[in-house]
Amino acid sequence: MLLLGGLFLLVYVIVFAGALLIEVANNGNGSVAYYLTAALADVIRTLPYSTAAAAAWIVIAYFFHQTIIDAVTGGESVTRQEQPRLYNLLENLCISRGIPMPKLKIMPSDALNAFATGLNQRQYAVTVTTGLLAALNDRELEAVLGHELTHIRNGDVQMMVVAVIIAGVVGFFGELFFRIFTNFGWNGGGGSWWPRSSSRSSSSSSSSSSSSDSKSSGGGAIVVVIIAIVLIMLAWLLSQVVKLALSRSREMLADAGSVELTKNPDAMISALRKIEGRGELIGATSAVMELCVDNPRDGFTDLFATHPSVESRVQALVKYAGGHYLGPLSLPEPPAGETGNEANAPDRPEERPPLPSHGGPGGQPTGEGSLPEAPDEAPNGPWGRPAAGPGGGR
């Protein structure tokens, strides 16, 4: 709730900053006080519109959140008959903690990942990829489901959706006002260091463009522009920081919650190692990736890494949950052919094997052969691990 209030506040701050810029573009000769009061009047005048826009954003997200995500990822509900193994695992976990069972969905994809969605009890859902179903054994699947259930139980999904909305709104308005600003071709005393963005013609702004040839300004304009820029950057930075801080610690908490549910830290560790580097969901937006068990996008692609690295999560599980350390797994190479060069993930580290191909030979998720299912009681199974493997099945 507090975050939602913060969202409205951020929107007003952005509108204020934008109004400052527009006032400067209109009349380059004013004083600081003039600009501030004029911008404030603008904000108050447009208050109904900005409030309505922010509210509309929130309402759309609230009701269509699940539909949008399903459309993007292709998830479909499954019943107990269709997936008894998965359904029973989830149901038993819910019984053991006395929480109502969320909807279960399957997403056809060779990637190994799972995510939780839903903003209230009616909407809660856990989606699992078919690749994950094929690659993980029962205990590991249970650990992943426990992780997602803990996200739901801790209210992480609401937090992340709000944080993403904030980042999106701020980014949207910030970019919009930048474009308006640079399109006015402001070449006053302080403007020369701003890059000229080769943007499309900006959407119509309320001020007339006849005064676009601003005179070389008095000191007030520069100061005010600087204030506006700083405000926008601060708002944006804050939204990113909020997103980051929430994600990392909550992922660790979800790992801990999973162990609390299943009492089996080794299963979570081996599940994480199997998922490592194979979690890329094609076509999923950043928002969806943040809700996943592992988010392989990091560095500049997604601006900042929102998940702690698998290594640090394994270390935490070893240190605090009594798990046994397991190094990165070297899985067999996928069949030759498409090597999954997705445009979404240019940063994939070189040492990880490429993703299994989509729609490759056979076209069946379990028929790909690149990630054979690990039997419960074969510690020297196809993974090529040393004999002291994880106690995944114990």
């Binding site: 008894p84 029973n88 038993n92 976990l93 019984i95 053991s96 903690r97 006395g98």
Partner: protein, 186 residues
């Protein structure tokens, strides 16, 4: 500021504390009761499955009277058990008997291949998991309740309101019988 007001304020705060502590303990206690009742839901489902299972096995292994009778007897004992201790003991006996019955299928390949039998065996196995899960939930609820009545400031009021420690669901004295390996007779 007269000391009378201060005393009054302190009393009001204490009363508010007591109210909220009481309400919280009531909620936790009810959760424990509900958790115990939920175990019964799974147990009853298991009772309902058994007649069908016994009939299916009789169709292929009619002369295994010993094992079959054991299961029927254990089921009746479990249904008629009253106190929680009796219920726990009877249900554990039933689990053991069912395990031996399912193991019979190893000696009778026709029985093992029967689709009905396989489905019943799978459902029973899933029910065992569910019973374990509901017991875990019960233990969680008991733990939260016990912690609640021992933490301050609720600890000051708990005794006066009649909230006492509850027991976990463990095997207790019947543990040795349950843990004895079933004797396999052919």
């Amino acid at each position: 500021m007269s000391s009378g007001w201060i005393v009054l304020a302190v009393i009001v705060v204490l009363v508010i504390f007591a109210f909220s502590a009481y309400n919280r303990l009531v909620a936790l206690s009810q959760r424990v009761n509900q958790a115990f009742a939920d175990i019964d839901v799974q147990l009853k489902q298991r009772h309902d499955l058994i007649p069908n299972l016994v009939e299916t096995v009789k169709g292929y292994a009619a002369h295994e009277r010993g094992t079959l009778d054991e299961v029927v007897k254990a089921r009746n004992a479990a249904i008629s058990a009253q106190s929680p201790g009796q219920v726990a003991a009877a249900e554990n006996q039933l689990s053991g008997a069912l395990g031996r019955l399912i193991a019979l299928s190893e000696a009778y390949p026709d029985l093992k291949a029967n689709a009905n039998f396989q489905q019943l065996a799978n459902e029973l196995s899933d029910l065992e998991n569910k019973i374990a899960a509901s017991r875990r939930f019960f233990n969680n609820a008991v733990q939260e309740y016990n912690t609640g009545i021992q933490q301050m400031p609720a600890a000051l009021f708990a005794g006066m309101f009649g909230f006492t420690r509850k027991e976990f669901f463990d095997l207790g004295s019947s543990r040795t019988e349950v843990e004895a390996a079933p004797a396999v007779k052919f």
